[in-house]
């Protein structure tokens, strides 16, 4: 059985074939996020959560270009990053619901997750200098490994980002900044919070920058493979900017965008395009992932509450 499916439709944003495992992952993340929102609506999530609906293809595309020894700094909108790296929906959902088997015992919750080679914090921008420090370590001890920090467009408001880029550029650190530019930060459109451009910000430090608009996982890989390699082999930082639509609310029920705007954003959803390009495989995969997520939800909801304490510490 081939793991790659040929595209049916000519033209359109999906120009490459699809790997089944990519589609699996794309749809796992989509349905996971949808389930989280549903659980939230049902009052089963304590606190807050930020879903990555519309942005799933970024971690999915990068997944095969990343190595096990790379260190990833995710952010508040990090479920997709986690699932693409670890494929562990139960551990993540348990974390969000505070159930046994939670990857961080329910202590960190949705936006504070740490697992080998992966870390999220809840303070915007804070991770970038930390990622620079990790890059320095990797450069010396695991040459060729990357320190990757995911940030949103709005996070360019934070001074910490610039302090880190300056050091990373000066010391030629293998830091890859992945910017998920979804045109908005909480409620603020990018035009209202970011002057100039992200490309310009990268250039300010002499860093390479590429902007990618495609929702096509295969195409993205073609475009950015060389960029990652350059950061790895030259040990210098780079910035990758992905233009993506944020299709869900910022966290929960707090979307103040106009319906027309959302409609037009939905036209950019990888989901539609993949559905159109690979209708059969898509339907079959979606069904499978919907069920898989439902099973995970059922199973995790049935678990006892997580425990935390010196005893429980791993």
């Amino acid at each position: 059985m081939s793991t790659t499916e040929r595209r049916r439709e000519a033209g359109g944003p999906i120009a490459t074939d699809v790997d089944r495992s990519d589609l699996d992952l794309l749809l796992l993340i989509r349905h996971f996020e949808q389930a989280v929102l549903d659980l939230f609506s049902a009052g089963e999530v304590n606190g807050t959560t930020h879903t990555c609906i519309g942005q799933e293809h970024v971690p999915v595309a990068l997944r095969t270009l990343l190595h096990p020894e790379d260190f990833l700094f995710s952010n508040h909108r990090g479920h997709g990053h986690y699932l693409a790296r670890f494929g562990d929906p139960a551990g993540l959902l348990a974390e969000i619901l505070g159930r046994a088997g939670a990857v961080c015992h329910g202590v960190g919750g949705s936006q504070h997750i740490h697992r080998a080679g992966f870390l999220t914090t809840g303070v915007q921008g804070e991770s970038v200098p930390v990622a620079a420090g990790v890059a320095l370590h990797l450069k010396r001890h695991r040459p060729g490994a990357l320190s990757v920090a995911f940030i949103g467009d709005g996070t360019w408001g934070e001074g910490a980002v610039y302090e880190a880029l300056n050091m990373a550029a000066l010391w030629r650190l293998p830091l890859l900044l992945v910017v998920e530019h979804n045109g908005i930060a909480q409620s603020s459109p990018t035009e209202a919070q970011l002057a100039g451009s992200i490309g310009g910000r990268a250039a300010a430090f002499g860093l390479t920058h590429r902007r990618v608009d495609s929702p096509d996982v295969g195409r993205i890989r073609e475009l950015v493979r060389g960029d990652l390699e350059r950061v790895r082999s030259h040990g210098v930082p780079g910035v990758l900017e992905f233009s993506v639509p944020r299709l869900g609310p910022h966290s929960k029920g707090d979307d103040t965008r106009a319906p027309e705007e959302l409609r037009s954003l939905r036209r950019r959803d990888w989901y539609r395009h993949y559905q159109r390009s690979f209708p059969d495989l898509f339907a079959e995969t979606e069904e499978r992932q919907r069920k898989a997520v439902a099973d995970v939800v059922r199973e995790v909801r049935g678990r006892p509450l997580s425990t935390w304490g010196t005893d429980g510490w791993g």
Binding site: G98, H112, G122, S187, A192, Q193, D254, S306
Partner: protein
């Protein structure tokens, strides 16, 4: 009381009044513009009415406080909204080294009318970086006052005072308060009434005479303290008064001296973690004024010295609960 407004609305109303009263009022913060109106909706309606003076900033806590400092330096009345108090730590330099110091460090008294609103505290499951009670870190900065919204004080009066203080102030807003109704008309419930002593709200059960215990608890800890006081009364016949200050620092102990001096025990409860906190400062003031009259050492309770976990059941363990106050009080009275 049923008739009173919710505290978020009362705060919102207070902000509207500041803008109506002062043409040099500014509100600066992240996502404060309509229709969003700030993460906790406290700033709703302001940007629509006063588009020029409500600034939704990029995610730049230090930068936005710096901007506020510049506006304050020019004589404006400036209100900053920090989305979560935890992020005020990013702006520590602008708050401490610029806002507070500028009042005196140029040798001349320089008025800085700057109010920094900080939603604080947990009980919301927002997790370790969005749930701190950061008060303690800002204690003891010359020319920086700390205030906290309470269920008793009208924020209209309070905010008007703060924008005219001449020195910068942090205004903490415990998140549980937003959705709660204000206590008005001197009555809290069938058991407790309240009145004011100086700036402090004093809640008492109907018992005459001195209280056994005086419990000092600001902001949202008021609710916790009232629940504890209720248990103590109903379960152990311990009469407990609850004092809710609106200005946390400098703490004005004078109006409380008699109340405190008559009690068998003084307890200070705070949302922040135990250790190095506000409670120790209040205790110090109590000893300083009341040493000969104190019958027991001042007891401090707060959150456990831990980060605030996200999961509800874990968060509950860490944060201050009425049971902790009750246990500490009873143990002290026994011992």
């Amino acid at each position: 009381m049923a008739g009173a407004d919710r505290i978020a609305e009362n705060l919102n109303d207070a902000l509207h009044h500041v803008f109506a009263d002062y043409r040099d009022a500014y509100l600066v913060g992240e996502d404060v513009s309509d229709p969003y109106g700030g993460a906790f909706k406290v700033s709703r309606g302001l940007s629509t009415k006063y588009p020029d003076r409500v600034l939704s900033t990029p995610i730049s806590e230090n930068g936005l406080l710096g901007l506020c400092n510049g506006l304050a330096l020019c004589g404006n009345r400036v209100i900053a909204e920090v989305m979560f108090g935890d992020f005020a730590l990013l702006a520590f330099d602008q708050i401490c080294n610029f806002a507070a110091k500028s009042v005196s460090m140029y040798g001349h008294a320089k008025a800085m009318n700057l109010v920094i609103r900080c939603p604080v505290g947990g009980h919301r499951g927002y997790g370790p970086t969005h749930s701190q009670a950061v008060h303690k870190h800002f204690l003891g900065i010359p020319d920086l006052s700390l205030f906290e919204v309470t269920p008793f004080h009208d924020n209209r009066t309070l905010l008007d005072e703060l924008v005219n203080l001449g020195t910068p102030a942090l205004l903490f807003e415990e998140k549980r308060l937003y959705g709660s109704r204000r206590f008005t008309g001197g009555r809290i419930d069938e058991l407790f009434t309240f009145e004011f002593a100086g700036d402090h709200a004093v809640s008492s059960p109907g018992e005459p005479g001195p209280a056994d215990v005086v419990l000092i608890a600001p902001g949202g800890a008021t609710f916790t303290a009232l629940a504890a006081a209720r248990s103590l009364l109903l379960e152990a016949e311990i009469v407990c008064r609850v004092i809710t200050p609106v200005r946390l620092y400098p703490f004005d102990i004078r109006p409380l001296e008699d109340l405190l001096g008559e009690a068998r025990l003084v307890v200070v409860a705070e949302e922040g973690t135990e250790g190095g906190g506000w409670g120790a400062e209040v205790a110090h003031r109590v000893y300083e004024r009341l040493w000969p009259r104190l019958r027991h050492r001042v007891v401090l309770v707060g959150a456990r010295p831990s980060i605030v976990p996200t999961a509800r059941h874990l968060e509950h363990e860490v944060l201050l609960q009425p049971e902790r106050i009750v246990a500490a009080t009873r143990e002290a009275l026994r011992g």
